[in-house]
Symmetry: C2
Subunit: 495 residues, 2 copies
């Protein structure tokens, strides 16, 4: 038995445990009665510990080294590269530091849950300072093992081979573009007639029926997935059993409808990953957070907020809720779907202002991780960023630097993936249209097949065999280019 | 660190894995899309393998031996006894025999799924013969380790310390009692006015609402459990997150209603098991299948088919479905709940005839396991048993020895627990009434608290610290006595 095939067995086992964890996580968010929380935490900690032991067994370093010398085909070679990445991230950090980090994350998140409603950054500062110190220690260790800078080492956990130099190369021009563009978009919006909100209430059952209909249309396979309700929407489970969730607001059907389409984009990616032998191997998994987010945003922002799709969907939406009148016309619904507004809260932001929220966070977390900024200066620097990019100043830290859980829960290096995903979505959607002229007209008939076929061949089926950089270059003819995203924004918001 | 405390850590880990498996199992039966089956099988096999490795680690024999010599209190001592039992059942059988058994079970169950609809016992005979051979090998190995006979060694897997000599001591008189009693019960029934079926349909939503109301009344804690739908009803999950299921027949509300009460009995046992430290230890678990079945049957058969409870429940049932007329009167519903009929199918049998179905199976499986009978003679012996005990002869093997999955799936030594559970339920319910005169009158007010308080103190809270024998003797003043069950049947069916 080769070292390589022994490694495949190790990762098959860890994949089975990971899939089991996916079900437990989904159940916790959707089905579990509250009294099950403590036991569930114990179950998940036990399985995570076993998965960690599996991937960091003492013979893994030798097996990986031996396998490098064995004869492997292209996918096996790529699989070995991804195995090593997973091993480095799991094994690089000593156990006592991993434990200290987990405790600091939990303590800081608890402090944040009190500090946020009180808009009191000082209250969370000591816990956040401890946590950031440990995150930087982890980053430094991984940076050495990976041969990259400390920020890139953390980024690599979410976006394999992501590099901040490349992020800067696309965020710098975007940052220069945004303030003026947002100004123009708001002016263009003011020249158009104001959109009108269809009046509710919109019963949950009817919203769900509409969501299921759109999911089916988009190609969601209900033999391999489900739609349920959770407080924070997500796409979980595994490629052959993908579970998406949403939440319903009876005063606004659009949030769940677009949310379902967003998660459907994630699910279609999972469905389209390589099957068979690669299914349970690192190379068969989704590439990383940038490509994953590109798939959800391609569905939500590129395909389903298009005038073509909204024109098709308007009668379905009307029928779903028995709506009548001007508010239910396609043109009005389309304009409601692309409203622009400067706001303080990232998760409520529209397509035009969202990148500004992300760029601000990316600059700040990078400075903090690299030790170029003090945590005590975060609120001020945050507000300055909002003034500069969006022209608004948060009245307090609840609407400012306390709004997102990421940093307080230990996720540093995650934020840029949102906007990289949005830019990648625009570039992939443009390439799909260039490759098949039917892609956009078909959306006007509710036909997602041309789009899905292109995504299957050019994105989903690659799994993790290519880096994000190579995948985008092969699929679109060039690396990520901010001009494509900017052209999309201009076309949609200024024309 | 003592050997004993190291053992507690081992079993805490295996309990966490077992609880995770409980959620995966529940999800598979209630929520999982069909395309998830293969992946789920892989997940569950992986976790079962890890749990097995955990409990059979090479140092376990030494740890168990060392712990015997350490100073332990009563519960620790009982816990050590249960640890050893679990270890013997897990470690006694060599890995290749375990694998061969799993394959034979799977092959035989598949053959049975074809043979049953075709009523063709011969078709499954070769696979069943292979399976029985392996089951007997396993039984022989465990018999030696446990120092008991081969049948008792298999029985011990489901009913710890269950012994067929004691089963014979209660089944022999019951077998003598039943044929004449069934005759008398049918005659008594013929003298009463025939019961009338309330006319449906009974919408699923209304059945569910009624079920939830009755569960709450019985003391089901929805912070620690749920009710869902599955093809085969069960009680699963874990003590702090207990999931029961039912299935709804829109032509007959009583089957789901009584089914929900049955599973609620199982759930109340789980809720009442020792908390804290013992929660994750073998001594804190439910005692075995006999006590578990006694708790479901106590709820369904003893408490909820009583005239007192039916009188209370009739108006609730009427309101749930908007029923009107004589069919909805308490007396009619009570009489429908205690109809007696000789039939071929165990799972459709009533309280009076059910023990006959079980005793026939127990005699046959014991003879087969002990090598006193050939498999080829099973259909004939089966039909003879039905003729003798129930006075009816199955027209074919589909309605005969092919009806139950148990033997074909590898569960040998399980059947007697059903009727031992029914007898134990009668004896516990009688003791509860003797201890607290309010138990039965309270049922007439929908008040389960006196009953539950007695069960908590005398059954649930003991976990596995006592053997079933000792638990019954302490709770009722004597070992299991068929006279108590017979008296219950006479009172309900002949008076």
């Amino acid at each position: 038995m080769t070292a390589y095939s022994r490694l495949e067995a190790v990762f098959r086992k860890s994949a089975a445990i990971g899939d089991a964890l996916g079900v437990l996580q989904w159940d916790m968010a959707t089905m579990m009665p509250d009294g099950g929380a403590e036991g569930r935490a114990e179950q998940m900690a036990t399985l995570k510990g076993i998965a960690h032991e599996t991937v960091t067994a003492p013979d893994m370093a030798d097996l990986l080294a031996q396998a490098e010398g064995e004869t492997l085909d292209g996918w096996e070679r790529a699989n070995l590269r991804e195995m090593r990445r997973e091993w480095v991230h799991a094994a690089a950090v000593p156990g006592d530091l991993v434990d200290a980090l987990a405790r600091a994350e939990s303590a800081c998140e608890m402090a944040w849950r009190e500090a946020r409603p009180a808009a009191d950054f000082k209250r969370v500062l000591p816990a956040l300072s401890d946590l950031l110190g440990l995150v930087r220690q982890v980053g430094a260790i991984k940076a050495e093992k990976l041969g990259v800078g400390i920020y890139d080492a953390l980024l690599d956990q979410y976006e394999p081979e992501g590099r901040s130099a490349e992020i800067d190369a696309v965020f710098d021009p975007l940052e220069a573009f945004l303030p003026g563009f947002i100004e123009e978009a708001l002016a263009a919006q003011a020249r158009r007639p104001a959109s009108v909100a269809p009046s509710g209430p919109f019963p949950t059952g009817q919203q769900k029926a509409l969501g299921l209909k759109l999911m089916e249309m988009a190609g969601f396979d209900f033999h391999h997935g489900r739609l349920d309700v959770s407080r924070h929407p997500f796409c979980g489970g595994s490629p052959e059993d993908t579970r998406i969730t949403t939440r319903y607001n009876e005063d606004d059907f659009a949030s769940a409808m677009m949310g379902v389409l967003h998660e459907t984009g994630h699910a279609l990616y999972e469905f389209g990953l390589p099957k068979g032998r690669w299914r349970s191997q690192p190379v068969g998994r989704a590439r990383g957070m940038v490509v994953h987010e590109s798939q959800s945003l391609l569905m939500e922002m590129q395909a389903c907020r298009s005038r073509e799709f909204m024109t098709f969907a308007a009668p379905l939406i009307r029928d779903a809720f028995g709506g009548q009148g001007a508010a239910w016309e396609a043109d009005n619904l389309y304009r409601r779907g692309i409203r622009v507004e400067r706001g303080f809260i990232r998760v409520e932001a529209d397509e035009c202002t969202y990148p500004a929220h992300v760029i601000i966070r990316y600059r700040l977390e990078k400075a903090l991780i690299e030790g170029r900024m003090e945590l005590a200066d975060l609120p001020g620097a945050w507000n300055e960023g909002y003034k500069r990019l969006l022209g608004i100043t948060p009245p307090d830290d609840r609407l400012g630097c306390l709004q997102d859980i990421h940093w307080y829960g230990g996720s540093w290096g995650y934020f840029p993936t949102y906007t990289l995903g949005a830019m990648t979505a625009a570039q992939l959607f443009a390439a799909a249209q260039a490759a098949d002229a039917e892609v956009l007209p078909a959306m006007g008939k509710g036909d997602f097949k041309p789009l899905l076929a292109w995504l299957r061949a050019n994105v989903h089926g690659h799994g993790s065999s290519l880096s994000t950089r190579d995948l985008v270059t092969r699929a679109t003819g060039r690396p990520l280019d901010p001009a494509v995203f900017e052209a999309h924004l201009r076309r949609r918001y200024l024309d």
